[in-house]
């Protein structure tokens, strides 16, 4: 009888709390918000790396990679570390005995991730447009699909880490993986700049299909091809990682 009224209220309250706490974690904001913007500015302003299709400006190549990084950092780093510590502090356990359903907590986390991503995407697009003359192109629908599938994958990865391993290890692991995806995820450095072995490693990481799909979507396929195959690959990653999270997640 009461659930009908309390569930939406409970969810919005939980989303509010998630957002508020995320905004309070300065070190986490640095990684999620500042790093992609700084990388965009850095590599767009200095021609250290020769990017494909960068006759005028590398921003067209870089921006999709930075959007992917934003998704990875919000989903995996921010959610993963925060949730791991919530488990450590017993917060998940107490919430588990409250009327907020367990699925409701996950939904609240995903919604708060999406809200933060939207803010961050707007910031990145604004910087790209104002300072580096970036103009929208390609397919908006494809880009949104890629962002959503990527969000599902990396939030799943963050939750799998948070639920399965200790908080300290999640903290180190999430930051380590972030660096790995940054370097080998085709986000900043084009894969063909890498030695053969690293290229092979990069091809099997879940970050690469996300950056490829986004780059293909946002450039109409000119800087990366095969949106279809990339998005399917990313969706498989998403399914695997969410399943992993569901299997390993512990509430205490």
């Amino acid at each position: 009888m009461t659930d009908v009224h309390t569930l939406p209220r409970a969810l919005t309250a939980q989303v509010g709390m998630e957002l508020r706490l995320t905004l309070r974690r300065g070190e986490s904001l640095l990684i999620t918000l500042a790093v992609p913007v700084l990388l965009l500015v850095f590599f767009s302003s200095l021609s250290i790396v020769r990017f494909p299709g960068s006759d005028s400006s590398p921003v067209g190549y870089l921006l999709p990679g930075m959007l992917a990084l934003a998704v990875i950092s919000n989903g995996m780093v921010s959610v993963g570390i925060a949730t791991a510590y919530e488990r450590y502090y017993g917060v998940l356990k107490l919430l588990g005995s409250s009327p907020l359903p367990r699925a409701g907590l996950i939904v609240a986390k995903v919604v708060s991730v999406i809200v933060l991503e939207v803010i961050q995407l707007l910031l990145l697009l604004l910087v790209a447009a104002v300072f580096y003359g970036w103009r929208p192109g390609g397919s908006l629908i494809e880009a949104v699909v890629a962002l959503l599938v990527g969000t599902a994958s990396f939030t799943g990865l963050g939750l799998a880490m948070a639920g399965g391993i200790r908080a300290e290890i999640t903290l180190a692991g999430a930051n380590g993986l972030y660096l790995l995806f940054l370097l080998l995820g085709n986000a900043v450095l084009p894969l063909d700049h890498l030695p053969g072995v690293l290229q092979a490693v990069a091809r099997v990481l879940p970050a690469t299909p996300l950056t490829d799909a986004l780059r293909s979507a946002m450039t109409g396929g000119t800087l990366a091809s095969g949106f279809g195959s990339s998005i399917v690959e990313e969706a498989i990653w998403g399914a695997v990682l969410i399943l992993l999270a569901a299997l390993t997640f512990k509430w205490e």
């Binding site: 009461t2 309250a13 502090y89 017993g90 917060v91 588990g96 005995s97 409250s98």
Partner: protein, 323 residues
């Protein structure tokens, strides 16, 4: 209905036809093959304060977690407010409040934020400002949790259990780690809850707490019920014996004390620390002190008193509650 089938005995033994708040029947829980709850049965009536008393590792917390619906039972049946805690978890969670043994609160959130958040989870929440007042947290309502004192943190945990105006509150070691002031306040709150007709199940290893607050006490160890009754009933069985606590600077073979004619039992609590049960205390003390004088044993401390729950526990389990 299913309840009648599962609990025919309970249905007939009820006073005034009111369902008990909690019925536990033959509860078993195993962790990696070992039984931490081993066939526990007990009944908690509505509106009473019920204490689960036992040392660490007795199975108190596991039992409470099963009652809250947090863990499934391996065997046996459990009904809480007439509901199955696993299958009817949603309905149950609206009506219970929970204080965990430790933790449970975002370190970066304030009491105001936590209480407001939880208030949104319940259909009929209490007022946040009243709860802050009740828990003595009004002054620190906007201070982050991790900056609160240990006592304030525990009081916030207690206030969170009350947000939903629950019918039943689970308090798992509510006063462990609390300052004396916080302990007093918690006891006051528990008394107020009882006055309002709220059922309280608390676990504790503080005798004084159980003796003071509880209408009924279940003493458990190794997941089994050892004794059950009102504090008075638990003491009555032993009230004809007197307890003498004896402390000596040097240890002494307990058999020597046991040889005294009026001493029933001798328990060595620590080196040189003995607990004797005696009858006819005046005569027994005369015998004891004469023996000590004759053997030139120095006496550090000697106390005579009635049996306390602590002694009852020691008798039942052979070990100290605070071990």
């Amino acid at each position: 209905m299913a309840r009648g089938v599962l609990y025919p005995r309970v249905e007939t033994s009820l006073n005034a036809g009111v369902d008990p708040a909690i019925v536990v029947d033959g509860l078993v829980k195993r962790y990696s093959g070992q039984e931490v709850v081993a066939g526990l049965s007990l009944t908690v009536q509505r509106g009473e304060v019920f204490a689960l008393l036992g040392p660490n590792g007795a199975g108190k917390t596991t039992t409470v977690e099963i009652l809250e619906g947090y863990r499934p039972a391996d065997a046996g049946a459990v009904h809480v407010l007439g509901l199955n805690p696993r299958r009817e978890a949603r309905a149950l969670k609206q009506r219970i409040g929970v204080v965990l043994q430790q933790g449970g609160i975002y370190p970066q959130a304030t009491p105001q934020e936590m209480l407001s958040l939880f208030a949104r989870f319940y259909a009929h929440p209490a007022r946040v400002d009243e709860l802050l007042e009740l828990a003595g947290l009004a002054q620190v309502a906007r201070t982050r949790f991790r900056r609160l004192s240990g006592g304030q943190q525990r009081r916030l945990a207690l206030a969170l259990a009350l947000v939903g105006n629950p019918d039943l509150v689970f308090l798992d070691e509510p006063t462990s780690g609390m300052d004396p002031q916080g302990r007093q306040l918690t006891w006051q709150v528990v008394s107020q809850l009882r006055e309002r007709g709220v059922t309280v199940l608390l676990t504790t290893h503080y005798m004084e707490e159980a003796q003071r607050l509880a209408d009924h006490i279940a003493i458990i160890d190794h997941g089994r019920l050892l004794a059950f009754g009102t504090p008075r009933e638990l003491l009555r069985g032993t009230s004809d014996t007197t307890v003498v606590r004896l402390r000596l600077p040097h240890a002494l073979p307990p058999e020597q004390l046991r040889a005294l004619s009026l001493v029933h039992t001798v328990r060595e609590l620590d080196e040189g620390d003995y607990q004797l049960e005696v009858e006819n205390p005046a005569a027994a003390l005369a015998e004891l002190t004469a023996w000590l004088r004759d053997h030139q044993v120095v006496l550090d401390d000697l106390r005579v008193g009635q049996v306390t729950l602590e002694d009852v526990f020691l008798q039942l389990t052979g070990r100290d509650l605070r071990e």
